[in-house]
Symmetry: C2
Subunit: 123 residues, 2 copies
C-alpha cells in the first residue's frame, strides 16, 4: 500500500552541475563514439557512484537542442524489442566539444583562483 521512496542523494551537489550538463554529454559522446540517452544517464550514475543523477527531463531536452543546433546526429535502432536513439557528434560537434572542454578547464582554473583551491589539471 505504502510506497516508500528513499532519496539518498548528495543534494546541493546536484545544482552545481547546472551549466555543465551539455559539456558532460558532449565529452561522453566523444569518448564513446555513440551513445543513447538512457545509456548516458547510467554512465554518469556509474562514474559518480550514484552521486550525480541526470534526470531525463534535463537530458532529453539537452540532447534535442544539441541535435537542432547541428552538434549531434541521431540514428534509431531496435535492440531487444526496444527502440534506442543513438547520438553521435557531427564534425561541427567535435569542434564544439573541444571548445567546451577548454572553457571548462578555464572555468576550473578560475574556480581555483577565486576559491583559493589548488587544482592541477592533467589531460
Amino acid at each position: 500500500m505504502h510506497k516508500i521512496i528513499l532519496y539518498t542523494c548528495s543534494m546541493a551537489n546536484q545544482q552545481l552541475i547546472k551549466g555543465s550538463l551539455s559539456t558532460i554529454v558532449l565529452h561522453l559522446l566523444q569518448s564513446a563514439g555513440e551513445m543513447y540517452g538512457y545509456e548516458i544517464t547510467q554512465k554518469v550514475k556509474q562514474l559518480t557512484s550514484d552521486e550525480i543523477k541526470l534526470t531525463e527531463g534535463a537530458l532529453y531536452p539537452t540532447l534535442h537542442k544539441l541535435e537542432a543546433e547541428g552538434t549531434l546526429t541521431t540514428e534509431s535502432r531496435k535492440v531487444d524489442g526496444r527502440v534506442r536513439k543513438y547520438y553521435r557528434l557531427t564534425e561541427d560537434g567535435k569542434k564544439a566539444t573541444a571548445e567546451r572542454m577548454e572553457e571548462l578547464e578555464a572555468f576550473l582554473l578560475n574556480m581555483q583562483r577565486v576559491l583559493g583551491l589548488n587544482i592541477k589539471l592533467s589531460s
Copy 2:
C-alpha cells in the same frame, strides 16, 4: 555619437558558474570577514583576470536571499559620501559555508571522474 562596446569575454565560461555563485560569495566572505556587494564583483573580476564577471542582477538577489535565510547579516555604512552595505557570515553561515565547500569539492571530483580529468585538490 556611436558608442562602441567591446565584449571580450570568455562567454560560455560564464554559464558554467551557474549554481556555484553563492558558494563563491560565501567563500569570499569567509576569507575577508566582511565585504560589500560592489567589492565582491571587483574581487571576482580581479581574481579571474576579467574572465568571470558577476553581474549585479545575479549578485544582489543572491545576497538578499542568503540574508533572508540567516546565512548573512548586513551593516550599512557611509564611506566617502556613499552608502556601502557590508555583508558578514553568521554562525550558521560559517557552517553552511563549510558544507558548501565540501559539496563543491565533491562536485569537482565527480567532474574529474565523468570527464576523465585528473584534478588534484589540496586545501
